[in-house]
Symmetry: C2
Subunit: 142 residues, 2 copies
């Protein structure tokens, strides 16, 4: 619960000091991980009630939601291998079972929200880049 609240504290400062002013200035904001990650890691991974996580996400962001989310998905063993190779953080050091819950959570959330685009993270990097750009441009059409 303390971990969840620390992530939300960081998110509140990031949202109110960086993201909202950038949006107000008409910029496009790309953020690596946002409220969806907290639902997946602290909700599905840690087992904290999803309603609680959603409510804290709302407090931390003042209700701000992304227009589009890209979920770069791959089998958890491979993802953990990648993370370990570059030096894992607190969450990345968790068990494979934890990461399986997180991945299942992400995919369950993606099935319910059309704004979440699931991409195969094992695909060629250049192909992924083009796919993401095309989706973003589609979303920017008036």
């Amino acid at each position: 619960v303390a971990e969840l609240l620390l992530y939300e504290a960081a998110r509140a400062q990031h949202t109110f000091e960086t993201i909202r002013p950038a949006l107000a200035a008409g910029r496009i904001v790309l953020s690596e991980r946002y409220t969806l990650a907290t639902l997946a890691y602290q909700g599905f991974g840690r087992g904290i009630d999803l309603g609680t996580v959603r409510s804290l996400n709302g407090v931390a962001t003042g209700g701000l939601k992304p227009d589009l989310t890209f979920l770069l998905d791959m089998p958890e063993a491979e993802a953990v291998g990648r993370a370990r190779a570059r030096g894992p953080d607190r969450l990345e050091r968790e068990s494979l079972r934890f990461h399986r819950r997180v991945r299942k959570g992400y995919l369950a959330l993606a099935r319910r929200e059309p704004r979440i685009v699931v991409l195969d993270a094992r695909a060629d990097r250049e192909r992924l880049r083009r796919e993401i750009l095309a989706r973003v441009r589609l979303g920017l059409k008036p």
Copy 2:
């Protein structure tokens, strides 16, 4: 909002690692400031919605509430003077107007909850000690 979430993160760790195990071991726990302080400072002082603060208090403590709360009250100018003399923290450095809102908030909350005992903090220290002890003993009676 980030400040509020940081206080709640600290409270969650303090509650789950220190307070709850002590209560489970049958100890009496005395804590200087708890959820009421967050309602007064971040709710009334900072102007964050009281329902939001209450809900975060609930998440951080898992619903744990003190049996008894002592509010050591004095005029805000005098309290700020005391704090400045010993080196004020982030909240104590706030304006007198801020501290007026906090004090009003504390007193309004105390009027609604019988478990909050308001004491005059300008009273003699020994008299305050005796008054607090008497109240605690009253509360401990089976």
